[in-house]
């Protein structure tokens, strides 16, 4: 099944392939169905459909100059490219492009750790370096810095940050794009640019002063298509000496408001690591009477039943990094602050451990209270254990999650905001006639320090026929639309939903998108770099907008 880039005939394609082979060597140009199969999205909603975004070829450069030559060749032959770093963007499209027939520029072979400084606390890496690679590099050398890893450790600092990915240690570092410092980019005309202090040829502070001078275009390269990033610097957290956690619960539904306000205060004073919210009442969802009260959002009744079951309504787990004494002092102070705001709050000490934790301590799941926290990532230790979520289980022994997708919207970072979002999500589910789970107990994730993201408890039908997948994708689009009506915007999306999400950032007649597309057309007149990524369509490919919807 040979796929050609759009508007390119077989002769021109063959000539382009020959050029790519000259640039990277024939063994690193892939065109057979067999070799291209892993460049498709394993969790695709469009698997085997005529509009499934499958590349026509993949090219694996190993040096920056090769990337520049590939981009120049793409301009000459008018071939759309799609750049990936480690290509593990599962739940958000995997390695697949936005335009069927693109040539994937696979940067995995550019996998050099260029520098790690554990006195000035930064790293400079190429795109193919995975979190696991960077962690190993640091461990092998005994360097005293942590990485901040997302749940699956096989992705890369560069690829993950460029899709606004997140992790689990201290707030500043959890925002992977926010924690980057300096990048090198191959522009759509093949020129090489460096941002921040990298623009000053003799500077020794590329990974220390991010702004350089003048407007910083770095933001354009995340969830965008303004260039191919070939190096990126990241700030690294110094390895702390000690870690401690503790659990706080509050009895009533409305106590969520002062609880969140107080935790925000601690967060914004940079006093705590990631807070993990939850509801102890989930254990009552098996009980019909409670489930019905929760379905009606009958707060008084829910409070009454919670009290009868001697359960508190909300919990938050806090974490502290520092020394034995400072973490203790901060935990004591946290208790004092919450007790002031919610006098009936209860506090449970967690563990208090010197860093680095031992393997046994990282695996510890029988601490003083039940937790959903995955401790390895709170310690910057990468793994792939999270993959259990997508696979066979005792409950579903002959199935896997074939359309696993992430859908998280930014909601206001307040108790009122969360309680309102719960009701909105439940209403949307009702209107769309899909099952709604636990919405009255839904809690936000505080991955981004200053942001609450909430994934709604929707039951998207697990029908993996092409029609079933289409229905599911339509439901996702309608959820996005309804969310947007309430001002809840998705932070990230797979190619099939990128046009829909971008559509919702529509202030002043889509001026933001028009601005992006004006820039895009100016710096990439042939539209060769990742057309459509982030919903940004260059003129040459504008007819493809929405092509993954059908």
């Amino acid at each position: 099944m040979a796929i050609l880039p759009p508007g390119v005939d077989a002769g021109r394609f063959a000539a382009a392939i020959r050029r790519f082979e000259e640039i990277v060597g024939p063994e690193w140009v892939f065109t057979s169905d067999e070799d291209l199969h892993p460049y498709r999205d394993h969790f695709s909603y469009l698997k085997d459909q005529p509009n499934e975004p499958i590349p026509s070829a993949a090219v694996g450069p190993d040096r920056v100059e090769q990337v520049q030559d590939i981009v120049r060749a793409a301009n000459e032959f008018r071939i759309p490219l799609y750049a990936i770093s480690t290509g593990k963007n599962f739940a958000y499209g995997g390695p697949a492009p936005n335009v069927r027939g693109s040539v994937t520029v696979d940067l995995k072979r550019m996998n050099r750790v260029l520098e790690v400084d554990d006195k000035r606390h930064f790293a400079l890496v190429e795109p193919g370096v995975s979190y696991i690679d960077l962690y190993d590099y640091i461990q092998e050398r005994g360097l005293k810095v942590w990485i901040d890893t997302p749940d699956p450790g096989w992705g890369s600092p560069v690829g993950n940050a460029l899709d606004h990915g997140i992790g689990y240690t201290l707030g500043f570092y959890r925002d992977h794009f926010g924690a980057h410092c300096g990048m090198e980019v191959v522009l759509p005309n093949g020129e090489l640019m460096r941002t921040g202090m990298g623009a000053m040829p003799s500077a020794k502070t590329w990974q220390e002063y991010r702004h350089g001078y003048g407007p910083d275009p770095a933001g354009l390269f995340a969830q965008g298509n303004f260039g191919i990033v070939t190096k990126m610097g990241f700030r690294l957290m110094p390895q702390p000496e000690h870690w401690r956690n503790g659990l706080i619960t509050v009895p009533k539904r409305r106590d969520l408001i002062p609880l969140i306000e107080t935790v925000n205060y601690m967060t914004d004073l940079f006093m705590i690591g990631e807070p993990w919210y939850g509801s102890p009442l989930r254990q009552l969802m098996g009980n019909t009477e409670f489930r019905e009260a929760a379905g009606r959002f009958d707060e008084e009744e829910m409070d009454r039943q919670a009290a009868a079951a001697r359960l508190h309504s909300w919990q938050v787990e806090l974490q502290f990094y520092g020394s034995e004494r400072t973490t203790l002092a901060n935990w004591e102070y946290a208790k004092e602050l919450v007790a002031r705001a919610v006098p009936q709050a209860r506090f449970t000490d967690g563990e208090s451990l010197p860093v680095p934790l031992t393997k046994e301590q990282i695996h510890e799941t029988t601490g003083p209270y039940p937790t959903n926290m995955r401790r390895n990532v709170t310690q910057g230790v990468p793994g792939l254990g999270i993959w259990y979520m997508t696979g066979r289980s005792e409950m579903n022994p002959n199935a896997w999650d074939e359309t696993h997708v992430g859908l998280f919207s930014a909601v206001p970072r307040s108790g009122e905001g969360v309680l309102e979002a719960q009701q909105v999500f439940a209403r949307i589910a009702r209107d769309l006639e899909i099952p709604s789970f636990n919405n009255a107990l839904g809690t936000p994730v505080n991955w981004y320090q200053f942001t609450f993201l909430m994934g709604a408890g929707f039951g998207i039908p697990r029908d993996y026929t092409p029609e079933g997948k289409k229905r599911a994708a339509d439901i996702l689009r309608r959820i996005l639309e309804e969310n947007a009506k309430h001002g809840y915007g998705d932070y990230r999306a797979p190619p099939i939903l990128q046009d829909d999400v971008a559509d919702q950032y529509s202030f002043n007649d889509h001026v933001l998108r028009r601005f992006h597309e004006t820039l895009k057309n100016a710096i990439d007149p042939n539209g060769v770099v990742s057309p459509g990524r982030g919903g940004i369509w260059p003129a040459a490919y504008s007819s493809f907008r929405g092509a993954l919807r059908g």
């Binding site: 024939p26 063994e27 690193w28 892939f30 057979s32 067999e34 070799d35 199969h37 892993p38 460049y39 394993h42 969790f43 993949a58 694996g60 480690t86 290509g87 593990k88 599962f90 995997g94 390695p95 696979d106 995995k108 072979r109 193919g128 696991i132 190993d136 450790g153 096989w154 990282i362 695996h363 510890e364 799941t365 995955r374 401790r375 390895n376 230790v381 793994g383 792939l384 254990g385 999270i386 993959w387 259990y388 997508t390 696979g391 066979r392 289980s393 005792e394 022994p397 896997w400 999650d401």
Partner: protein, 134 residues
């Protein structure tokens, strides 16, 4: 990819050569393949297929856990304990993906590295079998 047939022939040839006069040099090359395969396996496969507990304290890692459900004791769930996994079998699974395991691209796992992993798994699984017979 052009290298693929060549490596397969080379592997077949290597098995014959082990019986020949050049056996000793071949043994060294095989040991090197096993060592390379072990390193690659530990880096790329073991975070899902390892024998130990999950990285968050779950009983098993996700690849091992899924295979435990798939085979229900008929085959050992950890690949390092599983005999008879040839390079071709492994290649078919890792290039196509299998259930929740996504496929691996040739830039992250070359055909030669698959051969090395097969060499390592052959050694690790016979050691495991010998161990369990004792």
């Amino acid at each position: 990819m052009t290298g693929r047939r060549f490596t397969r022939l080379a592997l077949a040839a290597s098995m014959l050569a082990a019986w020949s006069a050049a056996g000793q040099a071949q043994q060294v090359r095989d040991d090197e393949a096993v060592a390379r395969g072990k390193a690659k396996y530990e880096h790329t496969c073991a975070p899902c297929h390892g024998r130990g507990a999950g990285d968050d304290g779950r009983v098993m890692l996700p690849g091992t856990a899924a295979l435990a459900i798939k085979y229900r004791g008929e085959l050992p769930p950890a690949l390092e304990d599983r005999q008879g996994l040839t390079a071709d079998t492994i290649r078919a699974f890792v290039r196509n993906g299998s259930f929740s395991m996504p496929p691996f691209r040739p830039t992250e796992l070359t055909d030669r590295e698959i051969d090395d992993i097969a060499a390592y798994l052959a050694v690790s699984s016979s050691a495991a079998a010998a161990g369990s017979q004792r």
